[in-house]
């Protein structure tokens, strides 16, 4: 995974709450067996008509938000289905930072596994950001994960919180399977004391 530290880019405002993963990437695109190439399906039904022509009013199709790199949105983003394809679609499109008041739990976890930083900010901060983005063409933000800051073009700084373990994984681009495998001893000792019902008696079934 690519290490994450400083990041800067155009902010795209998606002014909707409870955006579910079915909207982020509709089911007809879940049949691909690789992790790449999902960007063109991001927000597909909102972004395109059935024949594939773009819906001009949708935010990703507006010229001022072209090449957006930071997605600003509302509460409970990523609710519903656990599909990691939603995160793959966001990264493949070019979003590596999200800013919202809250995220759904499974989606939040999926973000870190793919080097995406979901920043949580207060409702008031989010309201202000929405005002700023709509008022200024080409509005960009600077994100510094190490210092846990988002800096506005005015120099104003928003401090954000993040779990230290997740921060470390993102900063170093760590693969958490290899971290876990360093705990082989502990896993083995747990395995040795499994209760009988935790085990599936395969021999008996044959």
């Amino acid at each position: 995974m690519e290490p994450f530290n400083r990041y800067e880019g155009v902010v795209v405002p998606l002014n909707r709450a409870n955006v579910d993963t079915d909207q982020i990437v509709p089911k007809q695109f879940l049949k691909l067996t690789q992790r790449t190439g999902f960007g063109k399906y991001l927000f597909y039904d909102w972004r395109f008509f059935e024949d594939g022509t773009p819906k001009n009013e949708f935010v990703l199709n507006q010229p001022r938000y072209k090449d957006g790199k930071i997605l600003l949105t509302r509460s409970n983003f990523g609710c519903g289905s656990s599909r990691e394809h939603a995160v793959w679609a966001l990264t493949d499109y070019g979003f590596r930072v999200l800013i919202a008041p809250s995220y759904a739990d499974i989606f939040y976890n999926n973000c870190f596994k793919n080097g995406v930083l979901p920043i949580t900010a207060s409702d008031r901060q989010i309201d202000e950001l929405f005002e700023d983005v709509t008022a200024h063409y080409g509005y960009t933000l600077q994100v510094d994960l190490n210092n846990q800051t988002v800096t506005k073009p005015t120099g104003q700084v928003i401090q954000f919180m993040i779990d230290p373990f997740i921060k470390k994984c993102l900063l170093e681009g760590l693969d958490d399977i290899s971290i876990t495998l360093q705990h082989e001893q502990e896993i083995r000792s747990y395995e040795a004391r499994l209760r009988p019902y935790q085990i599936v008696d395969v021999v008996r079934l044959k």
Binding site: A17, K27, K31, R35, N76, N109, D163, I177, T180
Partner: protein
């Protein structure tokens, strides 16, 4: 030390390694795998030359994209076929038990886990599917995870987790006639909202919960995720033990008796406290119908489509306005005057034998309304077989329903079972999101008996007023 909740007990029992704060490496007892969220995980294992640590604790099936039509025909959609074949190859390569397309035990992953005794009390269970919460009905900590976590569990049989909060949902009283577990969970979600359970594991408690059958508890726990919860739980009891007895992968004889002894401790201590609590009364509940595009946009069957201005928060007002536009509904419309094009009885929420039995009693001797296309999709091959042995297929087909093979089908429309644009469907599934059942399709979530009655009348009706045998 404060007394433990059921959730604390299962959590503590599975800690492999404790880290700072609430983070821990948690042992996973059962891993359920399906064709849609696993191919990338197996590829990851291959490219890093890792093996599946415990293939004996891993079980796979195909359910999400499989056709529900004649199984003797090949899968027409080449991409679906490729995904099914990829799972077959992955299971063969890594030594995993697969209930494949032609297996007599194939079915929706959350139907077959319990049915085969793979799901047991006190276990930790994961699956790359958000409705894994279903298995919490047994007093198992069951979590939906993404594909990277699927790969992590395949490789290590463990998962890094931040310990969630505990949330008590207490339901007292008894459900009135014609009001089901589905109406109960929709009422709960209507009450707590779609993110009310965020960051928590819900424990459902109270008389109204303990008096439910296992299938009804599964319906409740299944939709915990729609209330934003990490998982749902019901403490195991004699009802649970009776269900487990004789299931294929469950302990038998003396081993079962020993297991029951440990499972009897799996309950929240009398003086334990929860991070959050709500109380509801089942006797006041009515049949529920969703009118919008989240499961919390729900009302009583006797109610009306609300006006966006009825909602105090601007965020909800906007969402309600958008939802009404998408659903093609006018504020103030009587729920019972909403006409339907399609009816779907199925999904991991409501496709088990008792769901089909209940729906068949409503349907028996009646005909599906003209202009309505109605479909029953049993949750598994075993459910289908059992239903057919009771002649339920005939009851449904005589009434004009289609009787299908098992799978997720029109709950998420990954296979050919989808709504056409602007078609309106009464569905026993769990999500009424925009486009969920097909682009521009309009979904109303209801119970199986409400769906059955709606199919007969062509619009929603109050099933409590219907003459049918309830049990």
């Amino acid at each position: 030390m404060p007394s433990s909740t059921l959730f604390d007990k299962i959590w503590d029992d599975h800690i492999v390694q404790k880290e700072c704060g609430r983070r821990a490496l948690i042992w996973i007892d059962r891993h359920l795998v399906h064709e849609v969220t696993s191919p990338q995980a197996f590829d990851g294992l291959r490219s890093s030359k890792r093996r599946v640590r415990r293939p004996d604790l891993t079980f796979a099936t195909v359910d999400h994209n499989v056709p529900t039509t004649d199984r003797s025909l090949p899968i027409e959609d080449p991409i679906s076929r490729k995904q099914v074949e990829a799972l077959e190859r992955n299971c063969a390569d890594f030594g995993i038990t697969l209930f494949g397309l032609y297996n007599t035990r194939q079915g929706i992953v959350h139907v077959i886990g319990p049915e085969l005794g793979i799901t047991l009390p006190g276990l930790t269970i994961v699956c790359g599917d958000s409705h894994t919460s279903t298995h919490g009905a047994f007093g198992a900590l069951a979590l939906g995870v993404g594909t990277s976590e699927v790969e992590h569990v395949l490789a290590t049989q463990c998962l890094w987790l931040e310990k969630p909060d505990s949330f008590e949902v207490r339901v007292d009283g008894a459900l009135p006639r014609g009001v089901t577990a589905k109406d109960m969970i929709l009422s709960i979600i209507g009450h707590i909202g779609v993110s009310g359970g965020k960051g928590s594991v819900i424990e459902y408690r109270g008389d109204a919960i303990t008096s439910l059958t296992m299938e009804e508890r599964m319906t409740i726990c299944n939709m915990s995720i729609e209330g934003g919860a990490r998982a749902g739980l019901v403490a195991p009891d004699e009802t649970t033990f009776r269900y487990i007895e004789g299931r294929r992968y469950a302990p038998k004889g003396e081993a079962l008796e020993e297991a029951k002894e440990s499972w009897r401790d799996l309950k929240t201590a009398g003086n334990a406290s929860f991070n959050k609590s709500v109380r509801l009364n089942a006797s006041e509940m009515k049949p529920q119908v969703t009118w919008g595009t989240t499961p919390a946009m729900v009302t009583d069957v006797t109610g009306k489509v609300p006006h966006p201005e009825d909602f105090p928060e601007p965020e909800m007002r906007n969402a309600a306005g958008r939802a009404l536009e998408y659903m093609g509904l006018e504020a103030g419309t009587e729920i019972q005057s909403i006409k339907l094009d399609r009816v779907f009885i199925g999904s991991c929420t409501n496709s088990r034998l008792p769901d089909l039995v209940a729906a068949s009693r409503v349907v028996k001797g009646r005909k599906v309304a003209q202009g309505v296309r109605a479909m029953v999709v049993p949750g598994s091959q075993i459910v289908k077989y059992q239903a057919e042995s009771q002649g339920l297929n005939r009851v449904f087909t005589d009434a004009g329903f289609e009787w299908r093979e098992s799978g997720c089908s029109m709950c998420l429309g990954m296979n050919p079972d989808i709504l056409a644009p602007r078609e309106r469907c009464a569905s026993t599934s769990n999500r009424n999101f925009e486009g969920r059942q097909g682009r521009d399709g309009r979904t109303h979530l209801v119970s199986p008996i409400m769906a059955a009655a709606a199919a007969i009348e062509g619009h929603f009706v109050d099933v409590r007023e219907w003459n049918f045998k309830e049990s």
